[in-house]
């Protein structure tokens, strides 16, 4: 399968701290890939670098064969990468529909002058955008919620709205940052199915950051494990589950790390499934 995104020898430093150290990483087209690792392993930093929010210090990130690490975030989105956030970042005082319409920004071309004049083309375009937005709302099970302010939606609906907004940019690669955080087991199951649906129906490659091992193991085709900014393992879910370095990273490095990792697992899922099991 063709590679859609590839990172080569990527290094990111914050002062003296090396947050991401010489990581190589590939995402095949139309695949579901996960990054896991203990807290502070550099996962979100890695996400930010792909989407252009943190400039990388060394190395190269290329998307569909062209380097993107020098582009601005909006340019990267324009190439076809979109993302969600760990702590949901909707536009809280805009309605659900408007949130999605903002996501369509790149595909609407009317200038402000024609918008002021209200030309037929602008109207047709707006009409199409609205229909598309409604379609996306339906796709994420938010039918009829278009007029609600985003901040007043329930938690799960906000998560789905954020994904819908990301999908509105028509990405080829979708980055999900802990999509199951704060969800109950039932909702988590729905989410897993939903992610599959995005890939199967829309043909979008998906990169996940996830703490929730049941989701990760159930859904990913490949998993990359980061620890202290370094890639310590890569492979299919079963390979990762039996990889000794991964087990060490999660369990073996002193009581504090272990305690934290376990606490986190227990917090995010009642029936904990650590890689060691």
């Amino acid at each position: 399968m063709a590679i859609i995104l590839s990172a080569k020898k990527v290094i990111k430093r914050f002062g003296g701290l090396v947050a991401v150290n010489s990581v190589d990483f590939d995402i095949p087209e139309k695949s579901i890939v996960s990054i896991i690792g203990p807290n502070g392993a550099g996962k979100t930093t890695f996400f930010n670098m792909i989407t252009g929010f943190g400039k990388i210090d060394e190395g190269e990130i290329s998307f569909e064969g062209t380097p993107i690490h020098r582009l601005r975030p909006d340019q990267i989105t324009n190439r076809g990468i979109s993302r969600t956030y760990q702590n949901i970042r909707l536009f809280p005082d805009m309605t659900a529909l408007e949130n999605i319409l903002v996501g369509q920004h790149l595909f609407l071309h009317s200038s402000w002058i024609s918008a002021v004049l209200g030309t037929p083309r602008v109207r047709a375009e707006e009409q199409m955008a609205l229909e598309e937005a409604q379609r996306l709302l339906n796709f994420v099970n938010l039918k009829g919620k278009g007029d609600m302010l985003a901040r007043n939606l329930p938690y799960g609906a906000q998560r789905r709205l954020e994904i819908a907004r990301a999908l509105a940019t028509k990405p080829k690669l979708l980055l999900l940052d802990e999509p199951s955080a704060g969800m109950n087991p039932r909702e988590t199951e729905d989410l897993t199915e939903f992610i599959h649906r995005i890939r199967d129906d829309l043909g979008i490659a998906i990169l996940l950051i996830e703490h929730h091992m049941r989701v990760v193991m159930g859904i990913s085709e490949r998993i990359t494990v980061l620890d202290y900014g370094e890639k310590i393992a890569e492979g299919t879910p079963s390979e990762i589950q039996s990889n000794p370095r991964v087990i060490e990273a999660y369990l073996g490095r002193g009581a504090a790390t272990e305690g934290m990792a376990n606490a986190h697992e227990r917090y995010s899922d009642n029936k904990t499934e650590t890689p060691s099991q």
Partner: protein
């Protein structure tokens, strides 16, 4: 790929503009300085006068700037009403100084008279600052940044026009102190007594504040709160009390500055606080906002540049009455710092997104 030509042009325009702006300012400064020095229009006594005036003015800015910087350090908020707090100190000092002059105390004990006036100005400023904090700022803690800023702008105008209501739109002339008239001669150069007294008083106030912040328990707590409010609270620090103390200390400095400013200019009116307020903010940003020594350095730099600038940079490049543009120099410095180095001279690098 749609990174259009237009977009690239826009990027170019932004960068080009910023560089053009820098270059223009540098050219004016360098060319102006060169021409002025070559023309030799000003004597060295005049230059010394400019610098001394700049230092005394700058030390007042520094005193006011401390209030901005400390409040910003703790609450990440621009206390827009700080200029009015400063003005209220000048008014407080005015009434007590007039009274002391009236009963003859000021002429007999000028030092004590001055100290009493400053103390009273500080008291008035502190009280008003605490009221403002309680009514207009405290309920808005944790709100989006624009909200307390707008409230502060409101407080600023409310105070200005309250004072206008209390004392009318007229200008109050400060009583003249015989002890401060005239000059002292150093190495054959006469320096106005007022300027020396003002500078010394400001330096004393700043040292007091600095020792409070650095060496007392409450100062330590203040520094802790400005590092991280939540952690400080976990350590058993009463964050609210620290915030109030910070406002009070900053206001006291502004009050003292108000009296000193009024001694220099011999007058006070309800609008007195506005311009020095903005300039002191400039000083605070110049030194790196949140940074106490930075505010002091920033104040001095601003005072000197503003005092020397019109003659040094502008006079010889054909600008008539350059002193009209004295304030413009300060504002241009303000804009330049905000644009090019928002962390200030001494500030650590603050991310743009902070």
């Amino acid at each position: 790929m749609r990174t259009s030509f237009g977009e690239r042009l826009l990027d170019l325009a932004v960068n080009g503009f910023l560089w053009g702006f820098r270059i223009l300012i540098v050219v004016i400064v360098v060319l102006g300085t060169f021409l002025t020095i070559r023309a030799g229009k000003y004597t060295s006594e005049q230059w010394i006068d400019f610098v001394v005036f700049g230092i005394s003015q700058g030390s007042i800015y520094a005193l006011i700037a401390l209030g901005y910087t400390m409040v910003y350090g703790i609450l990440r908020m621009i206390n827009f009403a700080h200029g009015e707090i400063f003005m209220s100190g000048a008014f407080g000092g005015y009434f007590i100084a007039t009274w002391l002059t009236g009963i003859g105390f000021m002429d007999k004990y000028p030092v004590f008279g001055l100290i009493i006036s400053m103390m009273f100005g500080m008291l008035v400023s502190t009280l008003i600052a605490l009221l403002v904090e309680r009514i207009a700022y405290r309920p808005l803690r944790g709100a989006p940044r624009l909200v307390p800023l707008i409230s502060a702008i409101g407080a600023s105008f409310f105070l200005q026009y309250t004072f206008r209501g209390f004392f009318g739109p007229g200008v109050y002339a400060y009583p003249s102190m015989k002890a401060l008239d005239g000059e002292w001669i150093f190495f054959g150069i006469g320096i106005l007594k007022v300027q020396i007294v003002v500078t010394i008083a400001a330096v004393v106030m700043m040292s007091i504040l600095y020792s409070i912040v650095m060496f007392t328990k409450i100062g330590k707590a203040m520094r802790a709160v400005s590092e991280n409010k939540d952690v400080a609270a976990l350590m058993g620090i009463d964050v609210n009390r620290i915030i109030v103390t910070t406002f009070a200390l900053g206001a006291a400095m502004a009050g003292a500055a108000g009296v000193l400013y009024a001694l220099t200019y011999r007058q006070v009116n309800f609008f007195t606080g506005f311009t020095p307020g903005i300039k002191a903010f400039t000083a605070a940003v110049l030194g790196g906002i949140g940074n106490i020594p930075g505010a002091m350095v920033g104040g001095l730099v601003l005072g000197i540049v503003e005092s020397v600038g019109p003659a040094l940079f502008l006079d010889s490049i054909g600008i008539p009455r350059p002193y009209q543009l004295k304030d413009a120099i300060a504002y241009i410095m303000l804009v330049m710092i905000l644009l090019f180095r928002p962390s200030g001279i001494l500030g650590e690098r603050v991310s743009k997104k902070a």
